[in-house]
């Protein structure tokens, strides 16, 4: 493929990098006062990238995608779908951020620049069809995330979260890299095509070790049990807008990478990794549900909720079928909306002095002090619990349907049973907001940009979201079929 073709098909990344570099110059020369302008420009750039990716996705001449940059990077429907989700989630997180730092005056124009580079890393990750490309994208995303986690410099917890995330993230990268080196050593190739061909021709024990290490490293990044320990601490310590970001975009990217990895290079040997994924899925659902029960900090609770949701998404992967992959993508899209919405609602809960309210007990009385906010948050919680008229139910329905179709009845039954435990703590939040004696602490602060994000996500999650099912199902099916397209 010609260099022009390569440039064209990876244009979302290249465009974002160029914008990021220009904005970096603006921040370097303009200083703190450019924050607002740089944020707006970053949102516009991400929006442009999303539109361009959508064009690549819908353009029939790229239906089968293409390997570019000499087989290191693949533009296909799957990558484009994930990238659109990532860009939209990043936009949502960027829009709600600046107000948060108003109190401490710590917002700086480097924040959106780091977000852009993080989004570039995620885009490279999900389009990677070579181990080296995957690692590069992952590191780019991770480095940006470590810095963002400790962005609130006056807050000790933020510094702690950043350090913790950095050390454990580096460990995860090490495990992943070790697995990759084993896979490379025993298959002789770093490209997904080469690995698949080598594994299909017979697999040695060393390659099994490599696959397990790679999956463990990626499980760390998606925060699946037993590699979830860092999540509650990091989610609690990081500034809330950054937590919002961690719970959405990087999660989509890491799960998409895990999907592509499991189904493309290791697709022929699915019996090797299926047990691992089944264990991780069930354990994540159970630990995520049980761990959340005792929490009194809403950010920690949502961290456990995200572990729980990752478990449900992995149910689709365990099926190792095309329907399973499509179901995962549907769930991912709904999860991004739910997660973004609930964190933005948490972000909007402030007391009289403008401090963030994070304690669950302090949320009592929100239904009278700010009924709209309470309603939105209640819808989010009920949807996360998977209660039928809301859209969250649809996501759970499709993944379990895929598991049942793949003849994994027992697994699906256990997962559904465990999801009932999760409903408990989601309902607890609703109960605290509506039925407990008002604690008189929480007061929602209205801010148009946050209301817009919250309203959009609430609309998606509400029963109206079901209008999206045909479209979402169709798009996800197209994206998933790209994964199973054998060249």
């Amino acid at each position: 493929m010609s260099i022009l073709n390569s440039l064209y098909l990876s244009a979302p990344e290249i465009g974002l990098v160029v914008t990021g570099l220009i904005l970096l110059l603006v921040t370097a020369f303009g200083g703190v006062k450019t924050s607002r302008g740089v944020t707006i420009a970053a949102v516009a750039a991400l929006f442009g990238a999303a539109i361009f990716t959508l064009d690549l996705f819908t353009n029939p001449s790229f239906a089968l995608g293409g390997d570019i940059w000499s087989g290191l990077y693949r533009m296909d429907a799957f990558g484009s779908f994930s990238k659109i989700l990532i860009y939209l989630a990043t936009i949502g997180c960027l829009i709600v951020t600046p107000k948060f730092f108003d109190a401490t005056n710590e917002y700086r124009p480097e924040y959106p620049v780091l977000m852009i580079f993080g989004a570039v890393g995620m885009g490279i990750m999900v389009s990677a069809v070579d181990l080296i490309t995957l690692y590069m994208g992952l590191e780019l995303m991770s480095l940006a995330s470590y810095v963002l986690a400790s962005f609130a410099r006056s807050d000790e917890r933020s510094a702690e979260a950043g350090l913790k995330y950095f050390v454990l993230g580096a460990l995860a990268s090490g495990i992943l890299l070790y697995g990759m080196s084993l896979v490379y050593g025993f298959t002789g190739s770093t490209s997904y095509l080469g690995i698949r061909a080598a594994l299909d021709g017979g697999m040695s024990t060393g390659a099994v070790f490599g696959i397990v290490f790679v999956l463990a490293g990626l499980a760390f990044k998606v925060a699946a049990v037993p590699f979830h320990m860092w999540t509650p601490d990091v989610y609690e310590g990081a500034p809330t807008p950054v937590t919002t970001f961690f719970a959405t975009a990087p999660k989509v990217a890491a799960l998409a990478v895990l999907m592509r990895m499991a189904l493309d290079p290791f697709g022929g040997v699915s019996d090797v990794w299926q047990q691992v994924v089944i264990f991780a899925a069930l354990a994540s659902i159970i630990v995520g549900a049980l761990g959340a029960i005792g929490q009194d900090n809403v950010k920690r609770l949502l961290a456990y909720s995200s572990i729980n949701n990752v478990g449900f998404i992995l149910v689709g992967l365990a099926a190792a079928t095309e329907t399973g992959a499509a179901a995962m993508l549907v769930y991912l899209a709904i999860y991004v909306a739910m997660s973004l919405g609930s964190f933005v609602a948490v972000l909007m809960m402030q007391d009289k002095n403008g401090r963030q309210v994070e304690n669950i007990a302090d949320m009592a009385g929100l239904s009278s002090s700010n009924p709209m906010l309470a309603l939105c948050l209640a819808i989010m919680m009920l949807s996360l619990a998977g209660i039928p008229p809301l859209f969250g139910f649809w996501g759970k329905f499709v993944v379990f349907q895929a598991a049942v179709q793949a003849d994994m009845l027992l697994f699906a039954a256990l997962g559904i049973a465990a999801s009932v435990i999760g409903a408990f703590y989601y309902l607890k939040i609703v109960k605290v907001m509506y039925f407990d004696d008002p604690a008189g602490v929480v007061e929602g602060r209205s801010d148009t940009s946050r209301w817009i994000v919250l309203a959009i996500t609430t609309l998606i999650v509400s029963p109206l979201g079901y209008l999206l099912t045909p479209l979402l199902g169709d798009v996800a099916a197209r994206a998933a079929s790209a994964l199973f397209f054998v060249v």
Binding site: E110, I132, Y184, G194
Partner: protein, 207 residues
């Protein structure tokens, strides 16, 4: 003949300077011994025909890492005597780790004797150009096939740099100690800063 001589020279010096690195009383001396060890390891790499790695050792380890160590050692107020005080206490654990390493070494040699591992066949994506040096080969791959990743690596380093500055740089208000006006500093010309005077013999200079 000369290769054998060079090998033993480098090898003995690596081992000797490595030992001195951990036994030297003065931490600054330790780092200097470490630098010597790196240089000799680079010499060994040249002997096995890996001249690129030899250069990396010198440029990256000696040039950057070792100098960084030196700065850390000299700038941080670490009480090394206190750090050494736990030596006797931790001695059993150290011995245990040494034994584990020894067992691994024995196992490794045993496995090596048993025959080579069945590795995958290289797919030829990175096949070298025969008759060219390592550096030419690496360059040919890095700037053609892997150019996308090469650029990505650049962005990663840039992000790391942004991160380090964002997390540590503090803008000093005007008038405070350490305040910088970069624009003003850039506009400064030699003629504003220095003045050439030719004093006549036997007379002082009015400053």
């Amino acid at each position: 003949m000369i290769q054998t001589f060079a090998f033993y020279l480098f090898a003995v010096l690596v081992v000797a300077s490595g030992t001195l690195t951990i036994t030297a009383r003065n931490p600054v001396h330790s780092v200097l011994w470490l630098i010597l060890a790196f240089f000799n390891a680079a010499g060994l790499m040249v002997l096995v025909g890996a001249e690129f790695i030899a250069m990396l050792l010198v440029i990256v380890y000696v040039g950057a890492v070792a100098v960084l160590f030196l700065f850390v050692v000299m700038m941080l107020d670490i009480d090394f005597a206190e750090m050494r005080a736990g030596f006797i206490k931790n001695f059993p654990i150290g011995i245990l780790i040494a034994l584990v390493l020894l067992a691994e070494l024995v196992l490794g040699i045993g496995a090596y004797r048993a025959g080579a591992l069945e590795l995958g066949v290289p797919d030829g994506a990175a096949a070298p150009i025969v008759g060219e040096s390592n550096i030419t080969n690496i360059g040919a791959l890095l700037y053609s096939k892997y150019v996308f990743l090469f650029e990505t690596a650049g962005i990663i380093l840039l992000v790391a740099m942004i991160g380090a500055i964002v997390l540590t740089h503090r803008e000093r208000p005007e008038g405070a100690r350490g305040h910088q006006n970069i624009d003003k500093q850039n506009r400064r010309r030699p003629e504003d800063a220095t003045e050439l005077k030719t004093p006549s013999i036997g007379k002082g200079v009015e400053l």
